[in-house]
Symmetry: C2
Subunit: 287 residues, 2 copies
């Protein structure tokens, strides 16, 4: 099973990178520094988990997944923008990102703020400019993504709650809500949009919504566990699952969420194969 | 003539404010501080020039301009986000905005960055969620707005060039390019989108494109002139038209641009009335 997902990654990741490379303005386009910064922070060998999830959901219904590449790449731009802004001195103040200087260290704070703004803007421009799907469907995908990235229960809400939790430690319930909004919403939207755009039937979309909800939360719980065990201290002062529940119980919680996710997709039969493999992958993140 | 535009403002501004009030999450919605910040910086008695231009272009073709209010308000959200981010310490470092503490002073830097991000995100979510226009048309409006706000020749490009000009003084040509992108693009897009969404014929849209180009640049030239004459020193260290051309020549340039704008619309006859009045208004900004 692992090798099929592995082969999928080997095809999809380069395709996403190539699409991003084509959609991002070249480094020589004026103003050069912001385009350099946008490319520096996006074309950085990330695992492309969100675009791969989007493509996997699409591929559950259609062998040719190329039409969803622009959408998947736009989602990755939104993820990139969020990392650039999260790393800023006024936020998490991280000097490093994936072993390289973070955007504001490599460039400067003004460029980092603007490069994040520009990636977010470009993502929506790319989505709106895509001719690969019926217009109504595309509008709903954009609006879903806006919600998942937004301030009510999306990514921005999660970042605000996360910052507030540094001052007033989060309760169990608050921590779940932070994780759901900060990471879960965009992860979930990536899957849902892939399935929605390919035209999955409503009954399947309902099940996929449950799947998205569970893996979205599980993803961040597992991230907390990995951070707690790799000795990076990246989460120092942050509200985390191991910090509140301890490592063993956190692993249990993540595993139960993943079981729920798998169960939600069981009526989809063989279609769900890749997405189920994704659950295994997300639990281990070993390739 | 002035009184007709004045009456128009009296009806449109409160309608825009009411729409923004309804579209922005309430202050009591969690996380409260970011929603307070979004509302603080958006519902602040601004002149609503961009949404009014959008509505005026729409109203040139249809008496009932209410359907364009959500779009016009989304444009104002994008304008608000840009002001919040421009005021940040890493950018223009302005403590005051319209006589009140700027967003990062009233709240803090993290909230200001995130409130800007959230307004930009919400603008696109609102646009994509609007059911008032055919879906294809809405997608093109979104994509046009993304370009006007973006890093190639839109608002973000202008802000980067503006920051760079503090280090290496801009030439005449560069200054024009800064103004066109930093302010002109969004002003122009506001008008164009209003006319496009209402279904103006292509021949009119061509003329309106020229109008947009000229008033977009003129708007910022006039802004420079007003700043140079009101003694605020807000533009200290910034590249401005009076700084490069002197006051008198700057006034000439602005006036010629406005004449070009007026001429572009002359084939539209009485339809163009409000937009022509807008030129007078923008030259004086007295009400």
């Amino acid at each position: 099973m692992k090798s099929e997902l592995s082969a999928f990654f080997d095809r999809v990741r380069p395709a996403v990178d190539a699409t991003l490379n084509q959609l991002l303005p070249p480094e020589t386009a004026s103003p050069e520094r912001i385009h350099q910064a946008m490319r520096y922070s996006t074309l950085d060998g990330g695992k492309r988990i969100r675009p791969c999830l989007c493509v996997a959901a699409f591929a559950a219904y259609k062998d040719d997944w190329k039409p969803v590449l622009r959408v998947a790449s736009a989602i990755e731009m939104i993820h990139s923008y969020s990392l650039i802004h999260d790393d800023l001195p006024a936020m998490d103040d991280d000097d490093l990102r994936r072993g390289k200087p973070s955007c504001h260290k490599q460039f400067d704070e003004a460029i980092a703020i603007l490069a994040g703004d520009a990636l977010l803007t470009l993502a929506f421009e790319v989505l709106a400019g895509s001719k690969d799907f019926p217009a109504e469907r595309m509008l709903r995908a954009i609006s879903t993504l806006g919600g998942a990235a937004g301030s009510r229960d999306g990514m921005i809400a999660g970042q605000v709650l996360d910052i507030e939790a540094e001052v007033t430690p989060a309760t169990e319930k608050q921590l779940e809500s932070i994780h759901r909004s900060k990471t879960g919403a965009l992860i979930g939207a990536s899957v849902w949009i892939g399935a929605y755009l390919v035209g999955a039937p409503d009954s399947d979309l309902e099940r996929i919504r449950t799947f998205c909800d569970r893996i979205g939360l599980a993803f961040q719980v597992i991230d907390d566990i990995l951070d707690a065990t790799d000795g990076s201290n990246r989460d120092e002062g942050k509200a985390t699952y191991p910090g509140i529940h301890g490592l063993e119980k956190s692993r249990d919680i993540a595993h139960h969420l993943m079981e729920d996710a798998r169960e939600a997709l069981s009526p989809l039969g063989h279609r769900a194969r890749l997405l189920l493999d994704f659950c295994d992958y997300l639990e281990t993140r070993s390739y």
